[in-house]
Amino acid sequence: MNFLIGILEEELANSKRLADNYEKELNKLPKGNVSKKHINGHAYYYLQYKENNEVNSRYLGKLDKKHLKKYMDICKQKKEINANLNKVKKQIKVLNRLLNDKKIQSAA
């Protein structure tokens, strides 16, 4: 049983490290998401971000395809990182629960 606990502890340490790495990656990327509004048949782009618990909106103008793609790629990247980070956080929760389980601890 000690062998299994050792493996669980190692997996927990790995998941925590991975979560830290994902947080660092997210912090490197610009904040906010791009939203599109149609006004009088024209598309206008806004950057929406949270600051001091408030949602702010900054007008980006009529973006050309190149700049729009750049913002969309960043949004897509953030979405993927957040999805993976949530997965890892669930793993950490499960591993912590297993390691703190009294039956497993008493069997060790």
């Binding site: 997996e11 998941s15 790495n21 993927e80």
Partner: protein, 137 residues
Amino acid sequence: MIRKYNLLLKVLKKLDEHNLLDHLVLIGSWCLPFYSNYYEGIEISSTLRTRGVDFVFPLPSKIKEKLDVPKMMEEIGFIVDFSNSGIIRLMHPELFIDFIVPDRGKDLPSPYKMPNLSLNSPAIKASRYPCKQYNRN
């Protein structure tokens, strides 16, 4: 487990695209499903399998081209992790990949730098075990 296996197949495909599979050995518990597949009909007892996948680069390396292995793995969703000792590891919620070099004879520096692959690998002492020859007939 199927997700992990499918991700490993993606890793192998990516390595194969850059002709690296000929220069690598998959070791550890993750090589067993492939042995089981290869030696069809021979039962290989299951072992405990964690998320760690180990690849060994035999030395001396015969890879002449300059390749960025961490970047290849980033393209399929892995993230690069640098340990305090400088060892590079590729991490994904489903799998962690370690590229290892065998430390035979004289002690190799660890991490062992492979600049043509953009890797810093741990050098691990390897033992040689006698292998049973499986008769496929």
